[in-house]
């Protein structure tokens, strides 16, 4: 469960993204680590190896694990994210239609019907991994990643929705784009989304983009 994966790194395997987030919170409360970084089914802890012996770090982490890992409390609020699907904003929607045999309208209906939980933030500032997709969205990433994916892009890969808070290279299948700003470096709190938040997507017309 606990693996040394570098001179100053430990990795902890967990069962779910919610557990990874909850354990990360517990670890941060229990000790002063330079970094505690949840993944989808792992938590990485970086410790200050100059002062802290790995043997003691292992004991401290084990003590936290012994308390048991709760699931992350989902936040009460629900954030609605408007999305223009398809066309120039979602160039891979057609690919998804051929892969699933569903019409664009049916895919959009499926994507907007559910309430999802943000599993994890990571990759680039504010990039959100959102779980809970219908099984039919289980498609791999693009073979050729794009050099530039626009900010606000909504991607699908490996059974998750990925929200690009900023422009970056990327390999997710882009089905739409939100006009909502998801990261603002100048704001007091630059991040709109956090792990554990509830979100729902709402289809809007291209004409509403930028309004």
């Amino acid at each position: 469960m606990l693996t040394r994966c570098g001179d100053d790194l430990f990795s902890i395997a967990v069962a779910s993204p919610g557990q990874a987030q909850a354990l990360a919170l517990q670890l941060r409360e229990a000790g002063a680590w330079p970094e505690v970084i949840p993944g989808i089914d792992t938590v990485l802890v970086r410790f200050n190896a100059a002062r802290h012996d790995a043997h003691d770090v292992r004991k401290e982490i084990d003590a936290v694990l012994a308390q048991g890992i709760p699931e992350l409390q989902e936040s009460a609020g629900l954030l609605e994210i408007p999305v223009v699907y398809g066309g120039e904003y979602g160039p891979d929607l057609d690919t998804l239609c051929s892969a699933t045999g569903l019409s664009a309208a049916a895919l959009i209906e499926l994507h907007t019907r559910r309430v999802y939980t943000v599993d994890m933030i990571g990759f680039t500032p504010g990039f959100a991994f959102i779980g809970g997709l219908d099984e039919c969205f289980r498609v791999p990433r693009r073979k050729e990643p794009r050099q530039r994916v626009a900010a606000g892009s909504v991607g699908i890969a490996d059974g998750r929705t990925g929200l690009y808070a900023m422009a970056s290279p990327g390999g997710w299948n882009i089905i739409g784009r939100t006009p909502h700003q998801l990261f603002d470096a100048t704001a007091e709190d630059p991040f709109v989304l956090r792990a554990g938040m509830q979100v729902r997507f709402k289809a809007i017309d291209a004409g509403e983009f930028g309004q």
Partner: protein, 314 residues
């Protein structure tokens, strides 16, 4: 007090210390790719080790001083002139108003650090003034310097200092990086694992602050090459589907879905900033506690000249 950019060089950015504790929000370390050289330059002008300075990549900038200012350079080996007269790295230089500093192409190493007494005045975002080029924040307008940019310097009086010979970080074209096994090292077959640590890897031309491709024999991982996204760090070596190892640096994404096959040990991570295309790199396998022992010995050595060394190579 300010300086004006006459020529920006290949990619010159404002960099200070790293962003620490934001990786779970997707924010990488940023900061000097070679923080030890940043600290060495800042030391010579009386600054804190992590004061905002200029990081020049391969080809240095030409700068004009609008008033008197003490400066110092460390990092990659490069010729420097102040108003046409040759100057040395590793010592305090005193520029006068109107002087022009020309930093030439690096001869060895990839990044030259130019520290200015008092430090550069830069945008502080998420607890650091370092530039995040990908997201476009921090430093000077979140971007690399351009012709005509004017940068504000806090400026203060300082004494002449020289870095003692034994603390001048040697530059090379052939490097050894101590590294440990990482989370998915066991996905490499035995031959590939041996190849990883026996190969004289060559730094590919696609090398930047995000990461460096290591050219050499292709490696084989015993999975489809993908895994659930997990945290990565500067110094993490990933093995993507094409089998070409990718060494992550200070601006890399904070999570990745490729197997993590090795991890450069903390004591050698500052070297990542000095690797340039064509350089040779060998990975030297260490048991984690062995690498910690070497880290502590290195810190003890450097502490004499740089009291903040522990924070510098965090």
């Amino acid at each position: 007090m300010s300086i004006t950019v006459i020529k920006p060089g290949l990619q010159t950015t404002v960099q200070a210390g790293p962003r620490i504790g934001w990786r779970h929000m997707g924010v990488p370390a940023n900061g000097a790719a070679d923080p030890l050289s940043l600290a060495l330059a800042n030391k010579l002008v009386g600054n804190a080790w992590n004061a905002a300075a200029l990081e020049a990549t391969l080809v240095g900038p030409t700068l004009r001083f609008d008033s008197d200012c003490a400066i110092a350079m460390a990092g990659a080996r490069a010729a420097i002139t102040l108003n046409g007269s040759e100057q040395a790295q590793h010592e305090t230089l005193f520029a006068k108003a109107g002087d022009e500093l020309v930093v030439a192409t690096a001869q060895a190493g990839a990044r030259i650090y130019i520290a200015l007494a008092g430090g550069l005045v830069a945008d502080e975002i998420l607890e650091s003034t370092s530039t995040n080029l990908q997201a476009g924040f921090g430093g000077h307008e979140g971007r690399a310097l351009q012709v005509g940019d004017s940068l504000e310097v806090a400026c203060c009086e300082v004494e002449l200092l020289q870095t003692p010979d034994e603390f001048r970080l040697p530059m090379s074209s052939s490097w050894g990086l101590r590294a440990c096994m990482a989370g998915e090292s066991d996905l490499l077959d035995e031959t590939s694992l041996q190849t990883l640590f026996d190969t004289n890897w060559i730094i590919d031309r696609r090398a930047d602050r995000m990461g460096l491709r290591l050219d050499g024999p292709a490696l084989t991982v015993s999975s489809d090459g993908r895994m659930p996204s997990a945290a990565v760090m500067p110094g993490t070596i990933q093995c993507p589907e094409d089998g070409v190892p990718y060494l992550l640096s200070v601006d890399a994404g904070t999570v990745g879905g490729y197997p993590r096959i090795a991890q450069v040990a903390r004591l050698d991570r500052h070297v990542l900033g000095q690797l340039r295309p064509g350089d040779h790199v060998r990975l030297l396998l260490r048991e984690p506690d062995e690498a910690v022992g070497e880290l502590r010995a290195k810190l003890a050595y450097w502490r004499e000249w740089l009291p903040d060394i522990e924070a510098t190579i965090l």
